[in-house]
């Protein structure tokens, strides 16, 4: 007997979560090994200066545990992870977990906003293009998508800064999440927009919003293309399907045919793609974070990588893998709710 809707979806999601644990473990070990193989000696890097003596470097190496064999290091690392300890960053001198926790909301806020902007733009564009395939509108959307993809985010980011900050003066200076002199709301979720709202500080909310909008748009531009294309393609299939013909045959209104019948079916593959796009954005937004001095996890991991700071990089990769699993799970649940056919497979 088939279980009903949500229950079955939850069971399936739980099963999916369990089955992803081995993959997470694999990611853990793989990044660990990769970091050891990469050139560069952290001990040299973190020694007091270029003139540091051999003894000093050896001492640092011993402190860091790098004198032990790689398997031993791995065991130490895994047991630390098991206790929830991701290690300490040599750059910031803080525990990696604390660093990530401080920076993750910034990245998530940026990525969520960007994805939201992208979806709000891409879905209508795709629908319009699908309603009139081959028309000027369709070609216009195609051109816009192509431009979005072929301009790298750091270029579009710089362009946006040039136009909206330098020329028009509409945007605040692109330095981080909030104006240096503005007061930060009491941290509850880490998402500034939400924290400001909770604190009832609408002026602060608006300031944070203005800071956010340019980096989010430059990220969104890059992912509008895949979302709009998939919307267009699946909308075309949906509009040409038998059930849309049925809907038209009984004289349903245009709105009902397009939105309730065609779009609701067409949106299913878009959910899947949106999940993938989100995960990719979260990791790949390092360029945007750099251009806008956004204090996110990606730029943090890049800095760590450049200075052979093992722990933050490993922590970052683990975090990304975890988020990827989680996002897939959410997509799965959404899909199960949106499509009643999934639960019986």
């Amino acid at each position: 007997m088939v279980k009903t809707g949500l229950g079955a979806t939850m069971v399936r999601a739980g099963r999916r979560l369990l089955s992803s644990l081995p993959a997470l473990f694999g990611v853990l070990v793989f990044t660990f090994l990769l970091m050891r193989v990469l050139p560069g000696d952290p001990a040299v890097f973190f020694a007091s200066g270029p003139n540091a003596g051999k003894e000093e470097i050896e001492l640092i190496r011993k402190q860091m545990g790098l004198d032990k064999s790689v398997p031993e290091q791995l065991v130490f690392y895994l047991s630390d992870i098991g206790r929830g300890n991701l290690g300490r960053s040599m750059m910031t001198g803080q525990p990696v977990l604390k660093d990530l926790r401080e920076r993750l909301p910034a990245s998530l806020e940026l990525t969520f906003t960007a994805l939201l902007i992208a979806l709000i733009a891409a879905v209508p564009l795709g629908v319009i293009a699908a309603l009139r395939p081959g028309s000027a509108v369709d070609h216009g959307v195609r051109l816009f998508c192509a431009l979005g993809v072929c301009v790298p985010t750091f270029v579009s980011g710089l362009l946006l800064i040039y136009v909206f900050y330098y020329l028009l003066g509409l945007a605040p200076d692109p330095t981080g999440r909030i104006d240096v002199f503005a007061s930060v709301p009491p941290q509850r979720t880490g998402f500034l927009l939400i924290d400001f709202l909770l604190a009832g500080d609408f002026e602060g909310w608006w300031a944070a919003c203005k800071q956010l909008i340019l980096p989010a748009v430059s990220m969104a531009l890059f992912v509008i293309a895949p979302l709009a294309r998939i919307t267009r393609a699946s909308m075309l299939v949906s509009l040409g399907s038998d059930f849309v013909r049925t809907a038209r045959s009984v004289g349903l209104s245009w709105h009902k045919v397009v939105v309730t019948y065609a779009l609701r079916n067409a949106i299913l593959p878009v959910i899947t793609i949106a999940g993938i796009v989100f995960s990719t954005m979260l990791g790949a937004n390092v360029l945007v974070e750099k251009v806008f001095s956004w204090p996110g996890v990606a730029s943090y991991a890049l800095d760590a990588l450049l200075s052979s700071d093992y722990a933050p990089v490993q922590g970052f990769v683990l975090l990304m893998a975890g988020i990827f699993v989680l996002v897939n799970l959410i997509v799965d649940v959404c899909y199960g709710i949106a499509d009643p056919r999934v639960s019986i497979e």
């Binding site: 040409g240 399907s241 038998d242 059930f243 013909r245 049925t246 809907a247 038209r248 045959s249 009984v250 004289g251 349903l252 209104s253 009902k256 309730t260 019948y261 609701r264 079916n265 299913l268 949106a338 499509d339 009643p340 056919r341 019986i344």
Partner: protein, 556 residues
């Protein structure tokens, strides 16, 4: 004479395609009176569905009415725009479609879909619409309608989906219902139930109906007037009785001949001129096997269970002698395809044994059977000629492939000769061999599929609904071909089909399956003339025979 509800006057429809304008309908004229049921019969590409879609204004964007008028209650449908059109669709005329499951929105509960249709034309509350939807589900005789209101199409059977579709179509009491192949793809018993329901509802509500179908027998059973279409034109229009007794047009004659009836023989399916080409080989009688000869195939207590479910096939035993043809009939879900696949060794049986030519092959894993020397001897022809040919293989490659894999032939002159010989045996013109499947017609593809199957000179040919996707005239030719091949090469046939008329003509013996078990078996003619079980009788009676049309009943 009552006034015409619908009058189609010299209708022309063309489609713009990549190869230019294609005329699908060229000058159709017909009338439908209120409450009448008209049959519109023709083979694929005859323009019968396009005529229906033009009437309900559901043509694709590429299709356009290029001439003529469609007058519905005196109003030209082709000129309607916007709201006037929506007033018409659903409220005054509606349509039901082939493939009912695809015609329903897969992610919307059926109750809501019916209510959508009601709310479009009536200004009532959502609750009232829901109540009406429930009432409609009752009207189309869906069991447990309260629970079904929240069901999704994938949870219903094909027949149930078609009933829901009928409920949607009649929700606003249209005056005209156009049914486009409403029962194609449904089981013969389901077909009867759905068609009876449709006819009953149409009669009770005084709806005029246009039944678009490729099945002459079906049209004859339910319609008093039948229009026959060929290549965009109506070639003949008459009552079923006149149509079958004295067809006037050459095409109608061919169509009537090709439609299997309760008494027709394979030779009767094509007209005189076409028969002559094959006449020479038909007459060779089949040698009676000597007593004590072991059967070619013996199946003992075969069973198949999928995963944890109940048995798809259980306790199935049969034998086939060399050169014999055996039919395997049953409704969808009866396990006939599963059985045929086990015998072909494409899937593994859960229990039982298959003995071919004295050797047990039931225990060779399906995965390894391609290495068995019996792979050559047991070949298969699949249902859909479009899906079962590799789109990237030419007809030549398709036929050559088994020769190279199973007969160990290399490319070159010998292979070319063998392929051409196979093509000749199935009547496939040699100049078609370099073509890809999409460049071939349905009948030609069916021939390629058969040529491929007989390429290695098998002794047993398993045919899984080989003509189900073909037009009747093509089916007639393919059936003749199969019968000739059997006689010429002494190939045993296991013919899986839901079309009882075809099985009766082609097969010496017939086995009736139901829910994975044998219900009845015996010599075909006796079994169909005098079925012993209720189930077989129900199956046989459900076949729309031409002789039992209402016109005949009225004439008696």
């Amino acid at each position: 004479m009552s006034e015409d509800l619908l009058r189609i006057d010299d209708l022309h429809v063309s489609f713009s395609t990549r190869r230019g304008l294609v005329e699908a309908v060229r000058g159709v004229t017909l009338t439908v009176k209120a409450g009448e049921m008209l049959g519109l019969v023709g083979e694929s590409g005859s323009g019968k569905s396009v005529t229906g879609f033009a009437t309900t204004r559901l043509l694709d964007a590429a299709g356009r009415v290029t001439g003529g008028k469609i007058l519905f209650r005196g109003q030209d449908v082709t000129k309607l725009r916007g709201d006037d059109l929506r007033q018409l669709q659903g409220a005054a005329m509606s349509m039901i479609f082939q493939n009912p499951r695809a015609a329903l929105n897969p992610i919307r509960a059926i109750g809501l879909q019916i209510a959508d249709a009601i709310l479009t034309h009536k200004r009532i509350s959502k609750d009232a619409a829901r109540a009406e939807a429930l009432e409609l589900l009752r009207a189309v005789q869906i069991r447990d309608p309260e629970a079904r209101m929240n069901a999704y199409p994938h949870e219903l059977s094909g027949g149930m989906c078609q009933r829901v579709m009928i409920a949607i179509a009649i929700s606003c009491n249209p005056a005209l219902l156009i049914a486009d192949e409403p029962t194609t793809g449904l089981d013969v018993t389901t077909q009867k139930v759905v068609m009876d329901l449709l006819a009953e509802i149409a009669a009770a509500r005084g709806m005029a109906t246009i039944l678009i179908t490729h099945d002459l027998g079906l049209a004859a059973r339910y319609c008093r007037r039948i229009a026959v279409m060929e290549r965009g034109r109506i070639v003949e229009e008459a009552s079923p009785k006149t149509l079958f007794r004295a067809p006037q047009h050459a095409y109608t004659k061919r169509l009537v001949a090709a439609s299997p009836t309760a008494t027709s023989r394979i030779e009767d399916l094509v007209t005189e001129e076409e028969r002559e080409r094959t006449a020479a080989v038909v007459s060779k009688p089949r040698p009676v096997p000597a007593h004590g000869t072991p059967p070619l195939l013996e199946v003992r207590k075969l069973a198949k269970r999928f995963d944890q479910g109940s048995a798809a096939v259980a306790d199935f035993s049969m034998t086939i002698a060399g050169g014999e043809s055996v039919g395997l009939v049953g409704e969808s879900g009866s396990g006939k395809s599963t059985t045929s696949r086990m015998i072909c060794r494409l899937i593994d049986p859960s229990e039982g044994d298959i003995v071919f030519d004295g050797q047990s092959i039931g225990h060779v894993a399906a995965r390894d059977f391609h290495r068995s020397r019996f792979r050559k001897d047991i070949q298969m022809v699949f249902q859909d000629p479009n899906e079962s040919l590799n789109p990237r293989y030419t007809a030549f490659d398709c036929i050559a492939h088994p020769l190279m894999r199973l007969d160990g032939m290399r490319g070159g002159e010998a292979l070319r000769k063998r392929v051409e010989e196979c093509a000749e045996r199935v009547g496939l013109p040699l100049d078609l061999l370099p073509r890809f499947p999409h460049q071939l017609s349905g009948g030609q593809k069916a021939r390629v599929g058969i040529a491929r199957a007989i390429a290695c000179r098998p002794r047993l040919l398993v045919l899984d609904e080989p003509t189900a996707a073909l037009d009747v005239s093509v089916q007639a030719v393919v059936l003749q071909l199969l019968d000739r091949l059997r006689r010429e090469n002494d190939i045993a046939l296991l013919f899986v089909s839901h079309d009882l008329n075809v099985v009766r003509m082609l097969c010496d013996r017939t086995i009736v399956l139901r829910n994975g078990g044998i219900v009845e078996q015996g010599e075909s003619r006796a079994l169909f003339d005098n079925p012993k079980t209720d189930y077989t009788r129900k199956l046989v009676e459900a076949i729309p025979h031409i002789e039992t049309g209402p016109a005949l009943a009225a004439a008696l």
